[in-house]
Subunit: 230 residues, 2 copies
């Protein structure tokens, strides 16, 4: 328990970690039968790629906008005629996401255990507020941190630095929880203690760095933090 | 001809622009029938993604090494049992690439026209020297510039800045030529005059910036630069 006892706060990635983006793929499949999974995957890939490129080049643009840009490129790349209504429908899925099934109870257990919590996300403050409400997670976070405050996306150190600043804690005292392998790598490099929720059994990213701990669901995060004490 | 007449030097991206990486996909298909195209695509995607993430996080590692890392991840992700010999075979493809068919004659025309030329690549100096030799391009470049000198990958401005420094010219006086849409965007943001060789009919990246000119082959670059004078 030595490692876990040193943790004094928890910061969560949002999309794909707290909020289940699976519904986006479902809608994409309804709109473009047989191509929905490919569209959703390429959309996500371009959204993240654009966040990296814009940060590298110092050309920040809010996450809502690059999410739309990623959708536009993905549709064009796949030769799909995306009309304005379909575009709006798909984008709106990002504004009404469900939590993963175990997340609400897990977050309440952490809250009951007295651990300060934060969201640390690429999403804009507006996206995060809407998503928190849609997922029924109001009141579960002490801080809702958006990289919009520093205009650099993860994995830039300035983005991760928002959490230590908000908690007033050294990075290693904060458990950073994410489902994204690249985010776990960046956060580990930054200095957080890290937990990778590897929901779909992905291989570890080949980036010469491993998360401090790995599990399959948010319940594993709870067990890691308070399992021995709860 | 006002635009073209202002161009006083040309800098080329290497892999996919000067050197045809198609043979890599061919070998992947021989080694893993039915999965070669997917492996080659995911490999390339992870190679570039790792270059972005490492630059954002200040964790540079030479391109040869992240190329191997990208291959390892891609094989693991696809559940392919990549043995040491197959890994070596695939990596060696990067060391014996062919030029695109029209490239040698096109480069000679630019050379004959008296335009100073450079390679500006993510590749290590060693990779570039071997590739130049393998493609029969010895003597066609005044400068062979690797981002290894600044330990930051494109699209970081420090990487692009190698060309103006080598030529002693302002960025807009240099035509930067690339087949990669994201590289064309980064180079345009940086300030180069840019030419995107869009060989496979890709849509423009949704990054709010367009290359100065677009074509399908290196011959279009020659036509753009000296077509009216040749």
């Amino acid at each position: 328990m030595a490692q876990q006892a040193r943790i004094q706060a928890v910061a969560f990635d949002a999309f794909g970690t707290l909020f289940d983006v699976y519904s986006v793929g479902l809608l994409a499949e309804q709109l473009f039968p047989g191509k929905g999974a490919t569209l959703a995957e390429l959309w996500r890939q371009k959204q993240i790629e654009y966040s990296f490129i814009r940060s590298l080049s110092g050309r920040y643009k809010p996450f809502w906008d690059i999410t739309r840009d990623g959708l536009d490129f993905a549709a064009a790349r796949l030769g799909l005629a995306l009309d304005g209504a379909q575009r709006t429908q798909l984008m709106n899925q990002y504004a009404c996401l469900s939590p993963f099934p175990e997340n609400l109870a897990a977050l309440r257990r952490l809250k009951d255990a007295g651990l300060p919590t934060a969201i640390l996300s690429n999403g804009t403050p507006e996206m995060l507020q809407v998503a928190i409400k849609s997922a029924g997670m109001q009141g579960l976070f002490d801080h809702v941190l958006s990289v919009d405050a520093v205009r650099k996306y993860k994995t830039h150190p300035d983005a991760y630095a928002l959490a230590p600043a908000a908690f007033g804690l050294a990075p290693e005292r904060i458990l950073f929880v994410t489902s994204n392998g690249w985010d776990a790598a960046g956060a580990s490099w930054y200095g957080f203690t890290t937990f990778w929720i590897n929901r779909s059994g992905q291989p570890l990213e080949a980036l010469d760095v491993a998360p401090t701990a790995t599990g399959r669901t948010m319940d594993d995060v709870v067990a890691y933090l308070i399992g021995g004490r709860g």
